[in-house]
């Protein structure tokens, strides 16, 4: 199956090649009674060298999607393609290559690194696992470069996580992800647990590294302003579905989905409601139609690289 039929691949590939794409990915979690659909048939792609933001509130399924794309949890159905190779049929060696080229940065710095290991060894670990260094000197060089870029001193590298602040550990997590020069970094709210001034600093350093090395960055965030500031493209996620996708400029100049608009106004509101409507936003939507209760709108292509799922737009 080519990704073409979902309008993801060929027509956009004139400028960038698709690096990682997911096609019809669904994830269902078993819970006490029945199950929860965290990701509901999502297809989208990350292209070489771009910064793309996946925006959604907590509970929208964005972290789950990010972990599926990083091959940390398997999807219930659908598949993830890395340079057109499906994750589900990768050999051990292919998967190893994937792990070397795609890095995941988690949200919580607490326990993101082994508490019994020194920071230096944790940062050097992926280099050792992938056999990327020939000597201790070379390893030291790479670890030091990547750490100092994020403001970690040699002294801090000689400590264990419990002797450092959350911000310092998160810097180490990022330095570790970048140490092996990946082609794609998937960052799940990398700064949301830190204080605002640290947040801005770390994000700046991450973007500097991006423009210097040219890796693609998939930024998962609830913060639309952050997405606006850093990304070229934005996907807005709601209850396991992407409701709007487009370039950052277009989304901000002309938001088409009512949910996107309310996000922009800073009304962060998605609550549990009892509406059994097809569109999950029905209960809070100011523009709802009768047909929204019965069927969920398909992806409507507005123009090139611009999609929205709303009957109002149709």
């Amino acid at each position: 199956m080519s990704s073409d039929m979902f309008g993801l691949g060929l027509d956009r590939s004139n400028t960038h090649k698709t690096l990682l794409s997911c096609i019809a990915v669904t994830k269902r979690f078993k819970s006490g009674k029945g199950s929860v659909l965290a990701v509901d048939g999502i297809s989208f792609a990350v292209r070489n060298g771009e910064v793309i933001a996946l925006v959604g509130e907590s509970g929208s399924g964005k972290t789950t999607l990010a972990k599926i794309m990083a091959a940390l949890i398997p999807p219930t159905s659908g598949d993830v393609y890395f340079e057109s190779l499906p994750l589900s049929s990768m050999s051990r060696l292919d998967l190893m290559r994937f792990r070397k080229r795609v890095q995941f940065i988690p949200q919580f710095p607490d326990l993101a690194l082994d508490p019994t290991w020194y920071l230096y060894d944790s940062i050097a670990e992926p280099l050792r696992i992938h056999g990327m260094v020939n000597s201790r000197a070379q390893e030291l060089e790479i670890v030091r470069n990547n750490s100092s870029r994020f403001g970690l001193s040699i002294d801090q590298l000689r400590r264990k996580p419990r002797d450092l602040s959350g911000g310092e550990v998160q810097r180490a997590v990022i330095a570790r992800a970048l140490a092996i020069n990946p082609d794609l970094v998937i960052a799940d709210e990398p700064t949301s647990m830190l204080d605002p001034s640290t947040q801005a600093k770390i994000m700046r350093q991450l973007l500097d590294a991006h423009s210097e090395r040219g890796f693609a960055l998939l930024l998962v965030t609830h913060d639309l302003d952050l997405a606006k500031a850093v990304s070229e493209r934005i996907c807005v996620m709601l209850k396991g579905k992407i409701v709007e996708e487009g370039s950052t400029d277009e989304i901000f100049s002309n938001p088409m989905h009512p949910y996107t608009r309310s996000l922009m106004r800073g009304e962060i509101i998605m609550k549990e409601d009892d509406w059994q409507a097809a569109c999950p936003y029905y209960g809070q939507c100011s523009d709802r139609l009768d047909r929204c209760t019965s069927s969920y709108p398909p992806e409507l292509k507005i123009c090139k690289e611009r999609f929205v799922r709303c009957w109002r737009v149709a």
């Binding site: 190893m96 326990l111 082994d114």
Partner: protein
């Protein structure tokens, strides 16, 4: 790095008791007869020649006690080492696996937890015959379930923590994660369990030797009690032959329990367990 390790009062008491026994064991390497020559007469009460009197065959009880400390401590350490090793391996594999392997090892652990250990040890030791190695083997092979259960719980907790997911993300293999990351994180509990297991295995060895299943070549404190029981010292009233070894067993076992509890308390002030019985 932190060097500021200051033992609590409880641990200090434990360390003092254990050091005393280790000193006894070291003294046993001094030449025979230094602390009291064997007297010709059996069951002679404590005197200046024989500080703790003599036993049924006229040996100096104090000298026998010193040699016994060596045997009890060695078996205590070896038995604890074997059982802790087995318990740690089973616990860590069960705790970091899912599905059949975990279920299987979990049920095995539960099974051994319910079966009374001492009677089974008696049967096994009776079949294998009394020897040093057999006593160590019997204790080591049957005293691991508590360790396995605690290590499993801790390993499960570590396996589910965020950094293990991160390790999968950077391409680490399962065995690598188990031995390089999960193992260091359970070592604290393993160490506490080991110290408590030393206490248990000293008591178990004493129990087995008391029944007559100890190594006759290397009489331990338990062996001394066995002979006091079977050769009439008890009914003769020769209290000096059995009070000292029992006293030593109790204080040594208490010493290791105190240290082990101190370490356990340090790791988590939550659950406490006592690893000993007689």
């Amino acid at each position: 790095m932190r060097f500021g390790y200051s033992p609590s009062k409880v641990e200090l008491l434990g360390i003092a008791l254990v050091s005393a026994v280790v000193t006894m064991a070291l003294f046993s390497y001094l030449p025979d007869g230094l602390f009291g020559a064997p007297s010709k007469s059996p069951y002679s009460p404590p005197s200046l020649q024989n500080l703790l009197g003599t036993n049924d065959i006229g040996e100096d009880v104090f000298s026998v006690l010193l040699r016994g400390s060596r045997v009890s401590l060695t078996i205590g350490f070896l038995g604890a080492a074997v059982s802790t090793l087995i318990g740690t391996l089973i616990g860590i594999i069960a705790g970091s696996s899912r599905g059949i392997l975990d279920d299987l090892l979990g049920s095995l652990t539960d099974l051994f937890l319910v079966v009374p250990a001492l009677p089974l040890m008696i049967v096994l030791a009776a079949y294998l015959g009394p020897s040093f190695i057999n006593v160590v083997a019997v204790i080591g092979l049957l005293w691991w379930p508590t360790t396995a259960r605690l290590v499993r719980a801790r390993a499960r907790q570590v396996t589910e923590s965020l950094f293990v997911e991160g390790l999968i993300g950077i391409g680490a293999r399962k065995l690598y994660i188990i031995f390089r990351h999960i193992l260091p994180n359970v070592l604290g509990i393993v160490f506490a369990r080991f110290v408590l297991a030393v206490s248990s295995s000293i008591l178990l060895e004493a129990g087995l030797s008391f029944i007559g299943l100890g190594d006759p070549q290397n009489p331990s404190w338990g062996t001394m009690l066995h002979f006091a029981m079977t050769r009439g010292a008890l009914l003769y009233g020769a209290w000096w032959t059995f009070i000292p070894p029992g006293f030593c067993i109790s204080l040594t076992s208490l010493g290791f329990i105190l240290i082990g509890m101190g370490i356990e308390h340090r790791i988590s002030s939550g659950t406490k367990s006592v690893g000993g019985f007689a």
